[in-house]
C-alpha cells in the first residue's frame, strides 16, 4: 500500500485517495464547437506515461483535490500540491 501526502492532512494510506485524472487536461467547450475527435480525446485518451507523471487525486477524508507528481514505475512520490497554491 502506497503512502500519499495530502497537502492538507499529511501522509496517509493510499486507500484514502482516489485518482481524479491526469493533470492539465482541458475540457473542450462549448459543446457545439467541439469536434467529435477532440471530445473523444478528452473522454478516453490518457497518456499513461511510464515514469514521472502529474495527476489529480482526491483525499476522501478532507474532500480536497490536489496535484501529485509521482513515478508510475518506482512509485516514488515527488510531491503534492494544493490546487489553490501552496504545497506539502
Amino acid at each position: 500500500m502506497q503512502l500519499f501526502s495530502c497537502p492538507f492532512c499529511g501522509p496517509r494510506d493510499e486507500t484514502e485517495f482516489t485518482f481524479g485524472g491526469e493533470a492539465g487536461k482541458e475540457r473542450p467547450e462549448p459543446a457545439p464547437d467541439v469536434s467529435a475527435e477532440d471530445w473523444s480525446k478528452y473522454l478516453h485518451r490518457v497518456g499513461n506515461p511510464r515514469g514521472r507523471t502529474r495527476e489529480i487525486w482526491v483525499h476522501h477524508t478532507c474532500g480536497e483535490y490536489f496535484l501529485m507528481e509521482r513515478d508510475t514505475v518506482s512509485h516514488v512520490v515527488a510531491g503534492t500540491q494544493s490546487l489553490r497554491g501552496g504545497g506539502a
Binding site: 500500500m1 503512502l3 467547450e29 471530445w39 512509485h75 512520490v77 490546487l83
Partner: protein
Amino acid sequence: MTSHRIGSLAAETLHFTFDGTRYHGRPGDTIASALLANGVRVVGRSFKYHRPRGIMGYGVEEPNALVDVTLNGITTPNLRATTEALVDGMIVRSVNASPTAADDRKGFLDRFAQFLPAGFYYKTFIWPDWHRFEPSIRAMAGLGRLDPRNQPPAQNPQIAAHCDVLVIGGGPAGLHAAQQAMGEGKSVMLVDDQPVIGGSLLSRSAEIDGKPGLEWAATVSADLQANGHRVLTDTTAYGIYDHNLVALWQRRAGQSDAQWRVRAKEIVLAAGAIERPLIFPDNDRPGVMLADAALSYLARHKVLVGRRIVLATNNDRAYPVADALRRAGAAVTIADLRPQASDGALASAKIEAVHGPKGVEAVTISGQRIAADSLLMAGGLTPSVHLYCQAGGKLTYDETIAAFVPRDDLPGIRVVGAAAGQYALTEILSLGGEPHPYAIAPAWPQRDAKGRQWVDFQNDVTVKDIALAERENFRSVEHLKRYTTLGMATDQGKTSNMNGLATMAALTGQTIPQTGTTTYRPPFVPVPFGVVAGRRRGEFFNPVRRLVLEREHRDAGAVFREYGGWLRPAWFGGANAAANIRREAIAARTTVGILDGSPLGKIEVIGADAGALVDYNSYNTLSNLKPSRIRYGFMLTESGVIYDDGVTSKISDEHYVVSCSSGHVAGVVARLEEWRQDRFDPARVFVHNSTPQWATLTASGPNSKALVAALGLGVDLDDAALPHMAFADGQFQAAPARVSRVSFTGDRSYEIAVPSAKAASLLAAMQEAGKPLDAVLMGSEALLLLRAEKGYVIAGKDTDGTTMPQDLGIIGPMQKRQNEYVGRRSLLTDNAQRPDRSHFVGLTVEGDTTLPVGAHGVETLNSKRRSIGFVTSSYDSPTLNRPIALGLIERGMERKGEVIDLVHLGQTFRARIAEPCAFDPEGARLNA
C-alpha cells in the same frame, strides 16, 4: 526407536495423538519436536508418489511434515508440524495418507513413478476432457481435509504501527542492528518468527560482549523493551509492500492471530538463511534431515534425532553439529563431499544409496555400506532474501559461499547477517578479525545422476524431472517451475529452488547467475485468510447503513432488505411478502401510506455560485426555479449517460438542496465536489451532505393531506399556497420541519423532513394522526411497485450504462439549453443520435403472467433471432389488476402498440409496447 529425548522424561506433561496413537510431549515442543521425541519417523506421504516421509527441517522450510490438527473439535488443515506449538489434547493427523502415514494404501503409486514424469497429467488426460479425471486425481494427490466447521469468528485485529527502524529477525545480526538503532535514539521494532529471541544463538554457542550468546540476546531484547521499543516474538514478516509497508502475522497464545501493518522509515532485513539439502539417490527417506534442524532439535528440545548418524556435508558448518551430536551420545560419521576432510571424516564421499523404505537403516558411501538410523545433510546456506526481492531488490551470485545475495541496499531497506551472506559472528557484529570459516564446495546434481534424487520434496520433483524439462526445452527457470511444479508447493521451494536452478544450470551448461531465480512474491509463509481479512468479514465486510428508526420499524413488524446500501423495511407484517406488499400498495392508493424516506439524499449547495454549480451538474436548468419550488431532473456523466435522477429544491438564489436517490448520495456529492474545485471558485460555493442529519417521512395517498394537516406543522397546506413541486418550512415540536410536495407514487404526497432526533416522535405522531384515516406503514417494495405503475424510472435499474435522457424522451434541454453542462457534448455524438437506440417503454403483457425481469425482447430476421432489449422492472399491479412491466427496447418509442415476443430461460411471452405510465397518465391524482 531412533530419535529420542535425552535425560529425564518427567516434564512430558502434554498429551497428543498422531494418526491415532497416544504420545506425550513437553511445553515448548513443536508438534515436530514432540513426534521426534517419541521416535515417530514417518509423518506423511509425498504429494504425488505417496512416498513415506519424515521430518526434514526445523521451521518454515519444512516440506514434508504437513499435518491436520484438531483442537477442541475444530480441524485446521495443512499445518507445518515444525512451526506449530504443541498444545495439550491435540489430535494430529498426517495428510495425503490413509489410514496412517506409516501404512498408506496408496503407497503402491511409487512403483509406477517412471510412468508419472513431470507434465504427465498435462500430456495424458487431455482427451476427452480433463474435468472427467480431475476429481479422482485430486483425491489421489492431495493435502489435508477441510473442516466446514472451522469458521472462526472475525476477531483477528489488524494493527497499524510505525517506527524509525523495523528489524526483521531476532538473531545476532538483527539484535545488533536494533541495539545500534536504539543507541542512535531511533524508535525500534524487532520481530522474530520464533517464540524466543536469539536466532542461530538458540542452537549454536557463541560469546558476545562477554556473555553467552543466548544471555546476550535476552539482555538486548529486555533493553529494547525497557526503553519503550517493541519486540514481537511468534511474528512472521510475510510481505513487503510499497513505501516501506511490512505485513506481519503475529500468533498470540490464547488469542486470535493478529496482522500488523508496519510503516518503517528503515527496514533492516535480518531474516537469516536456510540450509539446503544435498542431492543423492533416495534423499527423501524418513530419517534424512537437515543438519541445522538436527542441531536445533537437540539444543532447543533435548531431542537427539538418531543414535548412529551419518552427516553428509560440503562445508565446514557441519563439524560443530557433529561435535554437539557426539556430546549428546550419538555415533556420528562425517561424509565430507569435499576432497579434503578434517580428522576422522570420510573425504570425497559420495552418497550412493540410502537403505530402508520406511526409515534410514544404512547408507552406502563411496561403495561402503554403513549402518545408520539417520542421515543429516549440510548442503550450504541459502540466504532468506525473499522480502528484499519482494521490494524489488536484485541478487548477485557469490561464488565463495555458493549463494545468491542482495546486490545493493534499497532505499530504506538494509540486509544484514546471514540474509546478506554474512555467516560469521565477527562479520555480523562488525568485530573485524578472521574471515568466516565456511569453505563450501557446492555439489550440484549432474546430468548422469543415478536413481531418483529429490530436489523438491513437497511436490515430488526429482533431478530426472528437471532433466526432462530441459530436454523438452522448458529451460527458463520460470518455465521449469511451471512445467515441473518445482518450488510451487506450500513451502514455496525454500529448500529446493536453489538446488533446482543449479541443476538446470548444470544441465544447460550455463552458469548459475545466467540461469537466475524465479520471482519472489508475498506471502513468505502460508498466512491464514482470517489474518488477512481481519474484521472485514460477515456483516462487517460491507456494512449496511442503518435508519434512525430501525428499531421502531422492527417493532412494527418490518422485514428488512438492503436497498442501495441501506437496510430498509421491504414490507411490514411478516412472512407473506406478496400479500403484505399488495395490502400496503392498495392502502397507499386508497387511503394513505407512511414511508421512511430518510436515505434520500439531502445535499446542500450554498454560496454565490450555487446556482451555476447545480446547473452545470444537471441536464435541466435549475437556477431559474422560484424559491420554495422543486424541479425533477437528471445528472449525467461526461459520456452523456444518466447517472442519477432526483429533485432539487431552491431555497434561495444562494442555497439549493439536491435530493438524489439514496444509493447515489456519496457519488453525487463527489461529482459536485469535483466540479466545485475544478471549475468554480471554491470560495464562492460549498457542498454539504446533510443526509444523515435529517429524517424524512412521507405520507402518500388521497388522505395524505388530512394526515399532514393533523400534525399541526404550521404550514399552509392549501394547494394554492403549497402546490405540487413546492415546499414550505414549518415546525414540529419546536424543531424545523420542511414539508415538500413531491411524489414517487403518482398520488398526492408530502415529504416531511425533521432533524433525526425528532424522527421517532414524528413517526408516532403520523401513525396517531393516520389512525382515523386507515393509514398503513409502507415498505420499499410497495413504493417500487407504485412508482412502476406510474412509469417512473429508477436510474441504474430501468437505465443501463448507455441510457441517455433522449432515450426517455426528454429532449428539451438537449435542444434548447445554450450553456455548458456535464455530458452535453456527448449527447450530440453520432452514437447518441443513432435511430436504433434503446428506449424506455412500458410493456403491456398479453395474458396474466408477470414478465420475468431480464426477459429479452426478440425479433427474428431471416430465421435469425436477436435481442431487441429487455425487461427492467415487472410487477403484478393490484391497482390495475394486471401485470405491468417496464423495459429498454430498441426504437421503443416509435414502436408503441407493436406486439413483441419475449423469452426467458426457455419460456416465451408476448407484450405490447406502451407508454411507461400505466396508471393515471393525466396526473390527476397528484392533486386528488
